[in-house]
Point group: C2
Chain length 128, copies 2
C-alpha cells in the first residue's frame, strides 16, 4: 500500500503548488467547488476555449486533484469533479509546511563577534 502521509519535501510541495499557481486553474477549481460539470460548461462560464480547458483539466487530473467521468447515456460528455481526499491531503501538507509554530527563536551563527547560545524571540541584535 502507498505511504499514508509521505514526507513533505520542498520539491514535493513545490511541484504540487505549481499546479495551483495558475489563475485559470484556480478558476476551474473554484468552479468545480460549486459543482460544475462538463468541459463545455466550464469553458462557457470562464470564457475559455475548450482545448484550453482540456489542457488545464489534464494538468489537474495528472496531479490527482480532479476526477473525470463519462456520461453513461451520452459518452461524449465528460463530467469533472474535485478529488476531495487528494485536495484535503494537499491542504494538510500546505498547513503543516507553513505551520507558524515551527518557527524557532533565532540563533545567528554568522555575523561579527556574535554571542552564541543566546537565541531571542526577535532578531538578536548584538548588545554592547
Amino acid at each position: 500500500m502507498p505511504d499514508q502521509s509521505p514526507v513533505i519535501t520542498p520539491e514535493n510541495l513545490a511541484r504540487q503548488l505549481k499546479v495551483l499557481a495558475d489563475p485559470r486553474r484556480l478558476r476551474i477549481l473554484n468552479l468545480l467547488m460549486t459543482g460544475v460539470q462538463c468541459n463545455c460548461e466550464i469553458g462557457e462560464a470562464l470564457g475559455m476555449p475548450a482545448n484550453l480547458i482540456s489542457h488545464h483539466l489534464r494538468v489537474l487530473r495528472n496531479a490527482g486533484l480532479v476526477q473525470a467521468e463519462r456520461d453513461p447515456l451520452d459518452a461524449r460528455w465528460m463530467y469533472y469533479s474535485i478529488n476531495e481526499p487528494a485536495l484535503e491531503a494537499l491542504v494538510r501538507a500546505f498547513d503543516a509546511f507553513f505551520d507558524l509554530s515551527r518557527i524557532q527563536p533565532r540563533h545567528p551563527s554568522c555575523g561579527p563577534k556574535r554571542l552564541q547560545g543566546k537565541p531571542t524571540k526577535k532578531l538578536l541584535v548584538s548588545a554592547p
Copy 2:
C-alpha cells in the same frame, strides 16, 4: 487603513502561490522556519550561489513574506526572517479557498436530456 481581509480572487491567490511554487524558495522558507539568518548562511546550507539567494529573497520580500534587517554592528550582514502575519494571512486565504465544505452537490446543466433540479451528492448519472 487597508482591507482587513481582502477578497480572495483566483488571480490574487495564484499570484501569491507563484511565489511559493518554487523548490528553492520553499527550501529558503523552510530554513527561515528554523531561525536561519544571513544570505551567506542560507547559501551555504542550501548549496546555492549568493546572488541566487538574493534573487529569491527579493521575490519573497516583494511578496511580503520575508523581512530583512541589517546587523547594527556590521552593516554588511543582512538578517532575514519570516513575516509571520503575512504568512498566516496567506495560509488562511489558502485554507478558505480550498475549504472542502464549499463543495456543493452537483447539478448538471448540460449533457443529454438530463433531469433538472435533482442535485445529488455524487455524480448525477441520469436514471432511466
